[in-house]
Amino acid sequence: MLLKNHFSQVWIKLKFNMKKTKIIMGMPIIVEILGTNSSSLFKKVFGYFESVDDKFSTYKPSEVSLINSHQLSLRDASREMQEIWALSEKTKKETNGFFDISHQGQIDPSGIVKGWAVLRTSQIIKQAGFMDYYINAGGDIQAGGHNGSGKSWQIGIKNPFKDTEIIKILHLTNLGVATSGSYIRGAHIYRPTHLKSQFPLGDVISLTVIGPNVFEADRFATAAFAMGRAGIWYIEKLPNFEGYLIDKHGLATETSGFAKYTKN
């Protein structure tokens, strides 16, 4: 009976396995959910990302823009804006100022909003009753349950020097992963002025962080990337987090527990 039940579940998953991609916030957002073909759920998921973009974009007429142009005070801002502010302040403390959304009187919560939005989306999917899914927003991924073959989700780390190449395969179940990096030397992560000279960015190209969920992985990847080479040691010392750093010579450094995610 149990076996029969199991087979029918697998059959349902195979039959209804939906994957959709949409460009929101200037990046591809990929959502795959097993066991459903409900387009209304996908609509809800992508609609959520769109509402986050409308609220937190730094270059659209968003709530963040209103705050930055002093037309809105944080006190009068929405509940979500205040939540992001509180989470940012918390992260700032936890990372000794390496994570900071305030710069020259302006706020830019981009380094925390993406992972937060992906985690919120995963809660929407779970509340709808689906436990096997992943959400990938521009490389920030929440992997829930298992893939269509009943295995952990297989997540590739992209070669920063070659867009089409995978250099590492992670096997993740109910975990989050995020990559922070400066691929064309254009990315700018705000670094605390008083610590900049002590923590040179050095030759670090990208830092991938695996954490208990995508929100945690994202905020610590952002903060640790800002620490330069020292960032991989920060992740090493952080309980329940693992990291993979790539430098400009194509040399990778991994934390001591990272290998458990690269084996089946």
Partner: protein
């Protein structure tokens, strides 16, 4: 309390390491030669007015990208990143005696199928957007 002490210890060890490693850092702004611009951007530069144009500061989701272009004789003569990571030329590796040495290996292509991929590629999109907005300003 133990966590606080541990955190302080980590920060202090980083600080010691950093002071130990401290060298002169190079802070020259990266400049791209015009050859590396997208081909379609080159073809349409003839219609641009000479001058300097600053592109929009574009959210790359891990920070911002902003470029400034200089148009000379209707063509892009220079492109500068106004926001970019500070770089320091050193390939020195962390080798702290107090902590175990982390595993290092050259990256290698993998040939297995994956469900999805992680990597920070949004930056180049932000670059394109900032460049486009600076070109829009330069249009006659």
């Amino acid at each position: 309390m133990r966590e606080v002490l541990l955190t302080v210890f980590i920060i202090v060890s980083f600080a010691f390491y950093a002071i130990h490693q401290r060298e002169n850092s190079q802070k020259t702004a990266p400049r791209l030669p015009t050859q590396s611009l997208p081909p379609n951007a080159q073809q349409i530069t003839q219609t641009y007015q000479d001058g300097e144009y600053t592109g929009l500061r574009i959210d790359a989701y891990y920070g911002n990208v902003q470029v400034k272009i200089t148009i000379q004789n209707g063509k892009i003569a220079d492109l500068e990143f106004l926001e970019y990571p500070k770089e320091r030329r050193t390939s020195q590796l962390i080798n702290d005696e107090a902590t175990p040495i982390l595993k290092q290996a050259a990256i290698q292509a993998q040939s297995a199928n994956v469900d999805t991929v992680s990597g920070a590629t949004q930056t180049s999109n932000a670059f394109k957007k900032s460049l486009q907005s600076s070109l829009d300003k330069a249009k006659i």
